[in-house]
């Protein structure tokens, strides 16, 4: 692969992560547990959508890529496509992903690759996302018995999707093993302070290891795309 095509592949991978997670967070609108959280979740979703638009535009036309690709052509992690579940699941997904994204963008920002500019801006946004997830993890983990149970269950359920974040991505010059270690330390620290147990299962299974990046997704993702793409596809060639 040439430098351009590998950069395009990486832009798609990172852009799809941001797009899909933004979409999932957008599903919370009107359903959040407290009004202040409507505002906070929308802020995060908007940051991610902004990142997605820059990244997808590096790879082509943002709308064509978002609305006209089939499920198997999406390169996002399976983690970000997981349904919102209860608020604990959303927060666990946020904690896992934003910690990863923060480590990744911090590394990309210091390099001189095609993503340095975007990463330098986005790393500040993501620092806030990570902080939001940490604050909520602490409160749900160390809140009531019920919230503790739910938060633990969510952390356990999503654990097997975390290994995929540390598979090498074509076009990104990153020491993923080093990043996984940093991630485990950071997430482990938050979970312990939240009186939660760090899940002890494997970070990936036969199906999840690097699968999203290869275009293999989970069932809920197809439905998500059907909803997201239906209007755009119903009016071929129209502009909005």
């Amino acid at each position: 692969m040439t430098a351009t095509t590998t950069a395009t592949a990486a832009a798609l991978a990172l852009g799809d992560d941001a797009l899909v997670l933004s979409h999932r967070l957008g599903e919370w609108a009107g359903h959040a547990p407290v009004l202040e959280e409507e505002v906070a979740l929308a802020n995060i979703a908007l940051d991610l959508l902004g990142q997605a638009r820059v990244l997808l535009s590096m790879a082509g036309d943002e709308d064509e890529l978002a609305y006209l690709r089939e499920e198997r052509a999406f390169r996002n992690l399976q983690l970000v496509e997981q349904p919102n579940g209860d608020f604990a699941h959303t927060i666990a997904r946020q904690l896992y992903f934003s910690t990863h994204q923060h480590l990744l963008y911090a590394r990309l920002a210091t390099g001189d690759g095609p993503f340095a500019g975007l990463a330098a801006k986005a790393v500040k946004e993501v620092a806030y996302h990570r902080d939001h997830a940490e604050q909520w993890t602490l409160r749900l983990g160390d809140g009531t018995d019920l919230s503790h149970q739910r938060m633990q269950r969510a952390c356990d359920a999503l654990w097997r999707f975390t290994g995929e974040m540390f598979q090498p991505v074509e076009g990104l010059d990153i020491d993923t093993e080093d990043m996984n270690a940093a991630w485990l330390e950071s997430v482990g620290d938050v979970l312990r302070r939240a009186t939660l147990t760090v899940p002890d299962g494997p970070q990936s299974g036969a199906w999840t290891a690097g699968a999203g990046r290869q275009g293999l997704h989970t069932e809920p993702f197809g439905r998500m795309l059907a909803e997201m793409q239906h209007l755009h596809r119903s009016h071929p060639g129209a502009s909005w």
Binding site: E36, A40, N43, D131, H132, Q135, R139
Partner: protein
């Protein structure tokens, strides 16, 4: 459900460096950390601020139950504290 009433916080925002913090409004939050974060999301999402203070509403001591109060009347009858009190001949500059 008795335990869900989050306390009220007053939010003060510095809109840019060189200006003082000004009261922007109030919000509910379970604790100071979240009060700050909620204030950031609610009162500065269009870039309206560079710094935020949050204060529990109950921690504010007010001068009196009435906004129009004798407490401030003494200050109203000392016009000599204001520069406009003094007549200066026309044409005198830098004063």
């Amino acid at each position: 459900m008795t335990n869900t009433d989050w306390p009220l916080w007053e939010v003060f925002v510095r809109s840019r460096r060189g200006l003082s913090h000004t009261h922007a409004g109030s919000l509910h939050a379970p604790d100071a950390e979240f009060a700050l974060r909620n204030a950031r999301d609610l009162y500065t999402r269009r870039g309206e601020g560079v710094s935020i203070w949050v204060v529990p509403s109950t921690a504010i001591t007010a001068s009196s139950p009435d906004e129009k109060d004798p407490f401030f009347e003494p200050a109203a009858d000392k016009p000599y504290r204001h520069p406009t009190f003094y007549e200066i001949p026309e044409g005198v500059k830098h004063l």
